[in-house]
């Protein structure tokens, strides 16, 4: 059963076609069910009793990256992810979520991360004022991005620590089961750990974590004592303050804005300023900044890898039409996803590894 607010949004979307051209999943699968309209219609029909919320519908609700491209496009302010998230909650309540989704939930319950693996730890100093929140994707799948970032901090003379047991922020679980109490509890535990560290600044490497910390935590009545800043914004400050000197790399690149940075945090300038500082000429993809097409999320990749391969290819298709042969991103999840489909003659690199080259 949907909340009244979610039902209002689903009813508004059920007969509206306006945003389908932006859905990264729909554009690749070509399925009518992969449109916000279809999902709104299906849920609206269940609320009217003329359809039942079955496993087939639940599966469709998981075929969405929650990238907010539709929300961003809606001039009347409706939010398909609102009812899609609630439908996921409902799928869990009814025990009809697809098996791979349940497997990921099981992984989170066992290990705190979507991979069901022990999360690697990173070197840490005690009692530093700055804490680097690495996040599970960077830690488990893209450690080179995290390590490059740490070396940049070292070069800038920033003393930082990491958490030995880094609790999840709630971002993954919230996307998997909707914003239930369990997700808020994860957020609360994370706040507690951040507060206990004594850090006054928390640098967040993964924009999915930063988005939930900045946007959702306050809604849940949670607030960390420390200031929360994205890794890119922090680095941009260091360069502006002259703590990190970059030489010109004299290259051309295109930049991928990941969906949470683009549409929740609306952080566009820091990565571009950093690229400019390293002498990178930017050849933008046609859909960039708040219109950026999502390449897939690590969570979706964990339960529907066939579809996320298509969404990653979809984003590469945009990059291939630029003048650049180098695609840069700051998002560990984008690194994992785009890394699955690098076309011939193209190179994928995270911003921090690239900046490290400009420091040498």
């Amino acid at each position: 059963m949907l909340s009244q607010i979610a039902q209002k949004h689903a009813d508004a979307c059920r007969f509206c076609w306006m945003c389908r051209h932006l859905c990264p999943v729909g554009l690749q699968t070509g399925k009518e069910a992969n449109t916000p309209r279809a999902k709104g219609l299906q849920l609206s029909l269940t609320q009217r009793g003329s359809a039942s919320f079955d496993a087939n519908m639940a599966e469709g609700m998981y075929e969405c990256l929650l990238c907010d491209a539709c929300t961003n496009d809606c001039v009347t302010g409706f939010e398909p992810p609102l009812y899609i998230r609630e439908a996921r909650t409902q799928a869990m309540v009814e025990d009809i979520a697809p098996a791979p989704v349940v497997q990921v939930l099981d992984n989170i319950e066992r290990t705190g991360n979507i991979y069901g693996e022990e999360k690697p730890t990173f070197p840490s100093k005690d009692n530093a004022e700055v804490l680097l929140y690495v996040g599970e994707v960077a830690a488990c799948r893209v450690p080179q991005l995290a390590e490059a970032y740490m070396r940049l901090l070292d070069k800038a003379g920033i003393s930082y620590m990491t958490l030995e047991q880094e609790p999840p922020s709630g971002a993954m679980l919230g996307d998997l089961i909707g914003f239930t109490q369990e997700v808020q509890d994860q957020g609360a535990a994370c706040v507690k750990a951040l507060d206990a560290s004594g850090a006054d600044t928390v640098i967040v490497l993964d924009s999915y974590d930063a988005a939930v910390m900045r946007q959702r935590w306050p809604e849940w009545g949670l607030s960390a004592k420390a200031q929360i800043i994205t890794a890119t914004a922090f680095l941009d400050q260091l360069v502006q303050e002259g703590k990190l000197k970059l030489r010109s790399l004299n290259q051309t690149a295109t930049y991928h804005d990941d969906s949470r940075a683009a549409r929740t945090l609306q952080e566009f300038e820091p990565p571009r300023a950093l690229l400019a500082a390293a002498g990178i000429a930017l050849s933008e993809m046609f859909l960039h900044r708040d219109l950026a097409k999502c390449c897939g999320s690590s969570l979706a990749n964990a339960y529907m890898p066939q579809i996320t391969l298509l969404t990653a290819q979809g984003r590469w298709h945009d990059a291939l039409r630029t003048q650049a042969q180098l695609l840069v991103t700051t998002c560990p999840q984008s690194m994992e996803l785009l890394g699955r489909a690098v076309p011939q003659d193209m190179e994928l690199i995270d911003l921090y590894t690239l900046l490290e080259r400009a420091c040498e």
Binding site: S3, Q7, V93, E94, T180, Q181, E182, Q184, G221
Partner: protein
């Protein structure tokens, strides 16, 4: 009836018109806090939500079941229509007598539509219970004494009171809590109970317009003192401000 050993609590809620002019109703903000407080302080007892409302509000009550309430009761009868705060508190009191006993009765301190704030104290009077209004937070003690902080015009008052009691909560005093998966599983299949005037044994002359000593003659929006606010992007802001300056200066 209500007794000091009762561990069950009850929350009175009202569904008010949407403030943005869209159709449908939404839970009154202070009542959100009342429910959150009841769930927060729930120990072994059950939380019942109670609303006197048209049948269309049943969906709203079902949502509160999903958000952790154990039981929901809708007081729905054509005779109830038009009840003022006096009649309403009488109907609620009768329902509470039938549904109880309750250790604590939570209300929002006022509804954003009527803005009377009269129902909680009236309800307390009719039930013969103490009433604490404008509650910010509270601490129930095992000895049956409740310690509350209540909002005053220029400060905060600490107040102790015996239970059972009627409390009216300030808006946003307790943050709303999302339901857990287990709450939601528990709520599956739960139905909203309905009670009408006959079931409550209330004479139609004691409710609705007939039982209400006051009448709303007219309601109209404020016409003076309204500010017109438009959100502008930076470029438009600069352009508009420059234009305004030019108009004022020239």
């Amino acid at each position: 009836m209500n007794d000091m050993t009762a561990t069950d609590s009850l929350v009175c809620v009202k569904f008010v018109q949407q403030t943005d002019g869209t159709p449908g109703r939404t839970l009154n903000p202070a009542d959100e806090a009342a429910l959150a407080a009841a769930l927060h302080h729930r120990t072994t007892g059950k939380v019942t939500v109670l609303s006197m409302a048209p049948k269309s509000c049943e969906a709203g009550l079902r949502e509160l079941l999903a958000r952790g309430a154990d039981k929901a009761v809708l007081l729905c009868d054509s005779h109830f229509a038009g009840s003022d705060s006096y009649a309403t508190s009488g109907i609620l009191a009768e329902a509470i007598r039938q549904l109880g006993p309750f250790g604590l009765i939570f209300c929002g301190r006022r509804a954003i539509d009527g803005e009377t704030g009269q129902v909680p104290p009236a309800l307390a009077t009719k039930l013969g219970l103490p009433c604490v209004t404008n509650v910010l937070d509270m601490e129930p003690r095992s000895d049956g004494i409740l310690h509350c902080r209540r909002l005053l015009e220029e400060g905060v008052e600490h107040l102790a009171c015996q239970t059972p009691a009627v409390l009216s909560l300030c808006e946003y005093s307790y943050p709303s809590r999302a339901p857990s998966l287990s709450d939601l599983r528990r709520a599956k299949g739960k139905q909203v109970e309905h009670l009408d005037a006959a079931a409550l044994g209330i004479d139609p002359s004691a409710c609705g317009l007939a039982g209400s000593p006051t009448r709303v003659e007219q309601a109209s929006p404020h016409t003076s003192g309204l500010r017109r606010v438009t959100q502008l992007d930076l470029d438009t802001f600069v352009e508009t401000t420059a234009k305004l300056f030019r108009e004022v200066l020239i």
